[in-house]
Homo-oligomer: 332 residues x 2
Amino acid sequence: MPELRKDPIIGRWVIISTERGKRPHDFVVEPEVSRGGFCPFDEGNEHTTPPEIMSYREPGTAPNSPGWRLRVVGNKFPALVMEGQLDRAGEGMFDKMNGIGAHEVIIETPDHNATLTTIPLEGFMDVLSAYRDRVVALSQDPRFKYVVVFKNSGRAAGASLEHTHSQLIGLPIVPELVQEELAGSKFYYNYKERCVFCDMIRQELQQLVRVVLENEEFLAICPFAPRSPFEVWILPKNHLSSYVDLTQDSCRLLAQVFQETLQRLEKVIGKAPYNFILHTAPFREPELTYYHWHFEIMPKLTLMAGFEWGSGFFINPTPPEDAAQYLREAQL
Amino acid sequence: MPELRKDPIIGRWVIISTERGKRPHDFVVEPEVSRGGFCPFDEGNEHTTPPEIMSYREPGTAPNSPGWRLRVVGNKFPALVMEGQLDRAGEGMFDKMNGIGAHEVIIETPDHNATLTTIPLEGFMDVLSAYRDRVVALSQDPRFKYVVVFKNSGRAAGASLEHTHSQLIGLPIVPELVQEELAGSKFYYNYKERCVFCDMIRQELQQLVRVVLENEEFLAICPFAPRSPFEVWILPKNHLSSYVDLTQDSCRLLAQVFQETLQRLEKVIGKAPYNFILHTAPFREPELTYYHWHFEIMPKLTLMAGFEWGSGFFINPTPPEDAAQYLREAQL
C-alpha cells in the first residue's frame, strides 16, 4: 500500500509508492547532447562575460584574464538589476517593488569538460567557499534580505550553458519556501525546545535507513518525505543556522560528503538533470536556535512538476529508504 | 527595470521581466508526436480500462460498453488505493498514514483526436459537470478531506496518454498549497472583512489590463503575480467558495469562458503543454466567506521548475499585462 508522509519542517504531505517503487533503471534519462560552439566560460574568453565580481586565481594574474580557478561574474541576462534604490509601491490592492537584486554566475572551473563529480576536491572546496564569500559580501548590502544559491545541472533542469556553473540571486525579500521553513521550524522549536533538523539528524543516525553517507561533521540523507525520487539533503551534524560561518576545515569535510553524494547519484541514476539549492538563514539574523542550514539536491526524474507546483502535492514513486540503499551500495 | 510582485492571496513574490518581456514566439514549443498504437480510452476498448465509476451515456447502453459521451474510471496505476481504513502512525518524530485515496481518470470524449479546444460546447460542459459530480460523490466518503481535480495536457506536462483526459485524486488530507490559500485568504478577510478574490475581481474589472475575457458570470484573467508565462485564472464573478454548487446554467457560462480561454491560449502559444487545477473549498465546510473557487491554468513554457519548486521563487519572463493583451487580441 502506498504511504502518505508528512515533512516535519513545512508540514507538506507527499505520496510515497512503497510497493512497486520505481528503481533507478525505471527512469528514462535522456542523454545531454553537447551543443558545441563558442563557450564564454572557457579560459581565454574572459572578455566575453560581464566583468569579474570575484575570482580565485594565481597570484599576479589580472582580473578578467586567464589564470583563474573559479570566477564569479554578473549574469548576462539578469533577472534583477543591481543599480537603484528599493521602491515599494501599491497598485490598488496589489504590492510591488522595483526589481533590485543581484544575479551572479559562479563559473566553477575553467575546464569546459569538468563537472562537480570530476573536479578535484580542492576545486569543489573552491565552489563551496565561493558560495560563502558571496553570501557574506551580499549580506553587507542593506537592500538585500536573502540570497538564493543554486545550481541547475542539465538542460531539463534549466541550465542554458553546459560549462559547469552555479548561480545566485540576492533578493530584497525572503522567498516563500524559506519563510515557510523558518515558520515551520520555529513552530516546532516553540513546542519542543529543540531544532527540528537536529532531531531529524539524531533519528536518521539512529535508524540508519535513509542515511547515504557521513563524516565527522556532515551527513547526507534521503529525507523522510521527499518530493522527488533520489532527493538528497546534506546537513551539518552540529547546529548552525547560517552558511556564512562555514570554516575552511568544515569546507573540506562538506566538499567530501557533497562530492561523493553527487558521484553516488551519478552512478545510480546516470547523468540525470538536477537542481541543488542552499537553504540558510536570512541576512542579519543572529544565530537562530530553531533553523539549520543545509543543501537540498533534487534530481529531475519525474515529469509531474506542473501539477505539483500547482497543488503543492507530490507523488514520489521511489521510497527514500530504497533510494538511500541504492546510493549507499553504489560502487564508485 | 524588472519588477517584484506579490501574490495577494499567498504572499508569494515573483520576478516579472517588464522590459524585454518574452513574446509568444520567443518560447520554443516542441510539437507533440503522436505515439499511435492501441488506446484504452477509445470507444470499443472499454473492457481494457478499470471498471466505470460513472459515465454520461445514451439511455439503454450498458456500463463499460460503447454509447458514452464521457467516462470516469479508476486509474490503472493509482497513486492511492480505495480499500482500507485510514491509519495514522508515527515513526519517531515523523508522521505518516496509509495511502488511502481515490485516483480517477475522466475520459473527456470517445473521440481520440478531439481536444478541449475542439470538442462541442456540450462536451466541455460534460467535463465540467463530471468534475462537480465526482467532487460531490467523493465528499460523501468520511475518510476524505479534499479532492484535487487536474488536467495534464501534453507529455511535458505529465500526460502519459494522448487521448484527452483529466484526473482527480481524493485525499485524506488538504494539500499544502490549498492550506496556504485558505490561510492567506482568511488572514485578508480578518483584516478587510472582504474576500481577497472578490477584491481582485473588482480591481481587474476596473483596470481591464489583465482581463482575458468575461461573460455574465465568469472571468478569465492573467493574475497580477503569475508564476508562469500566460498563466490564466478562471473565476466566478460572484462569491462562491465551493465548486459543488455549480448549477447547470452556470456550467454553460463557465464552459464558454473556459473553452474560449484555452482556444485563445492555443492561438497565441500553440499546442504548448499545460496543466490546470481546480481550487475549491475542502469537503464538509460550510460556505466560506473568505474563499473563492477557481481554476488555475499554467502553460509549461519555461524550464525553471526545478529551482522554482525548490525555493518557491518564480521568475516570469512575460508580464501578465502583455499576456492578457495577446490573448484578448488573438483572432479565433
